[in-house]
């Protein structure tokens, strides 16, 4: 069952949307987006490759997922063990993701980016980005990923169909995501309600 959740269910929105307010909020979103993108673009001056804005945003989102997802404690050796983001086979972000995570921490944990090629390698990461066209590879590692409580992030319908947990979708020119909560829970992950709120769709256990 798919259902849209608001952040604060205790605060029901009874106010009708005002067209002016909506337009203004839209404007604010666009402005905010542009401003958000600015430091990201500035953060990759060394990268020669021009990374599409979609991937820049996806890279930022992938990092941000670390804050709204909780892994079982056995996935970490200690309280300050790093969160490892793996990119399966092919890196669409260039140096973007590495630049984003560099010197940043989530709680006490640092964040690292690794390239993943095998299922064994995949068992060490906490997030695995599965680029378009690599969904078959993920299929192969499916059990290992589930056992290792890996949050899988992809960007295709096929990825979602294959049981990927967070799937980027484009809403106009806006990057958004769907969440397969069932798969996440299967993998032993706790996904923040806030994150679920932001998802365009959430698949839950029926």
């Amino acid at each position: 069952m798919l259902e849209q959740h608001r952040l604060l269910p205790q605060m029901p929105d009874e106010r009708p949307h005002h067209s002016l307010a909506r337009r203004r909020s839209l404007y604010a979103v666009v402005l905010g987006l542009l401003l958000l993108l600015w430091p990201l673009g500035a953060g990759t001056p060394s990268s020669g490759a021009v990374i599409s804005r979609k991937f820049q945003i996806q890279a930022a989102f992938v990092f941000n997922f670390t804050r709204f997802v909780t892994w079982p404690s056995h996935r970490f050796a200690g309280a300050d063990s790093p969160i490892i983001i793996g990119v399966l086979d092919d890196n669409p972000f260039g140096d973007e993701l590495a630049a984003i995570v560099k010197n940043r921490k989530v709680g006490a944990r640092a964040v690292e980016v690794r390239m993943v090629a095998t299922a064994a390698e995949a068992g060490f990461v906490h997030i695995l980005y599965v680029g378009a066209g690599h969904e078959g590879r993920m299929e192969e590692m499916r059990e290992a990923l589930r056992a290792a409580c890996v949050l899988t992030v992809g960007e295709s319908r096929r990825f979602a169909e294959l049981g990927g947990i967070i799937d980027f979708v484009l809403d106009g020119d806006k990057v958004r995501f769907e969440i397969n909560l069932e798969a996440g829970e299967d993998a032993g992950l706790k996904i923040s309600a806030q994150l679920l709120n932001l998802a365009t769709t959430v698949r839950r256990k029926s």
Binding site: L7, M11, H18, A21, L33, L36, R67, K105, V106, L198
Partner: protein, 550 residues
Amino acid sequence: MRSLRDLPIKHKLTLISMVTSGAALLLACGSFMSYEQITYRHEMARDLSITARMIGFNCAAALSFNDAASAEQTLKGLNVEPHIVAACVYDMANHTFATYNSAAGVNYRWPVPRGSGEEFGPDSLEIFQKIESGGEKIGTIYVRSNLEEIHALWRRYAAIAAVVLLVAILVAWLVATKLQRVISEPVRQLAAIASRVTAEKDYSIRAIKRGDDELGRLIDGFNAMLGEIQRREGDLQAAQDGLERRVQERTEALRIEVKERENLHRQLLETSRQAGMAEVATGVLHNVGNVLNSVNVSATLVADRMRRSKSANVGKVSVLLGEHEADIAAYLTGDPNGKMIPAYLATLAEQLAEEQAAVFAELEHLRKNIEHIKDIVSMQQSYAKTSGVVETVSVPDLVEDALRMNAGSLARHDVDVVREYRDRPVVTLEKHKVLQILVNLIRNAKYACDESGRVNKQLTVKLTADDRGVSIAIIDNGVGILAENLTRIFAHGFTTRKTGHGFGLHNGAIAAKELGGSISVHSDGPDQGATFTLSLPYKPNAIIHDKSPS
């Protein structure tokens, strides 16, 4: 309007109670309200801070994933808190990411984000709160609340405080009205007793003591004071009684003393009356004596004349005629002796007639003197009465009478009498007193002239009158008076003569005084003569001016 000072004590006490409880309550309410305000502001700031943190937290994902619409939805949830008027989420670059404004349509100027913290404005509370995610700051949230709740609270508290204050004052009034009697009643009673004591002057009244507090002691003191006053009142009364008794005694003593004095006075009066009578008798006798001198002189003269009378010669002639009875014709014609008889008889008859005339004159004089004595006696009799006999007389006639009474002695001592009657007034007075004075003055003048031994002895009587009265001056050119004697010449018993007894002038002066007049004396010294002037204040009934002295 009555001032607070004049308010009865019971009202004062009630007022004090009310004011005290009111003040205490006001202070308590004030403190409580202030404390509530501070606490409430703290709480409000804390609540708003929590709200901001929660909203910030709820916006963290939206901010992280750039979902402004979601953030705005979250912010919209603030509309359940009517006091929150505006909220805003800023991104890392401090640009507004999502906003909320309770008053739709108002273009809100969003403040530049500051560090976390709250700030109270005059009618607003603003909070900035950083938004964190994974321990990292990802933005700022701003929440602004109005202070309507605080103001409403304040108004509510003020209303409650007012009501409580009112009720408390009312209760205080009720309680104080009952309880003030504990103090005011004894005071009121004391005041009433004091008033009664003052009004009735009854110091035996006592105030009733109720307790042993200060009022009790005051009442004790008051009663003691009353006792003291009562005691003193008694003493005073006793003293007063004693005083009255003493006054009575003293009055009695005085009365007796006065009586004694009256007796003494009466005795003295009697003595003086007797003395006066003696004095009067002396005066009368003196005057009578004076006249008797004249009488004596007249009698002696008559006796001498009679002794030397030629009447015996008639007998001798008769004897001769008898011897010659037979031949009487011959004897008368032939006898030499007989021839002389008719001539002799004629001479004798002439002599006898002369003698008779002289004796007759002297007897007339004698008669007048005796008349004067009679006058003196009758004057004395009238003097003995309350007032003398008042007659209307001519003053010159009076003076003439006086001169006539002394005429014999004046003539004997060759004293010339000069009369200068400028006026001839007629006045109404006691004739004999004036006569007595004048006789006395004339006799004195005669003595003065006599003693001087001079040849041209002269006595001048000057009579003048004007509107104020009559003046009779007796002026002599006799021995005069020493200056030192002028002042005491009228004193009783003063005299310069060997035979004088110092009564004449004194008596005269008294008589003049009794007539309302006076006697004055003037002398230029020894041998310069003297002038005695009798001034009488009688207004003349008529004045007959007589330029030529008679």
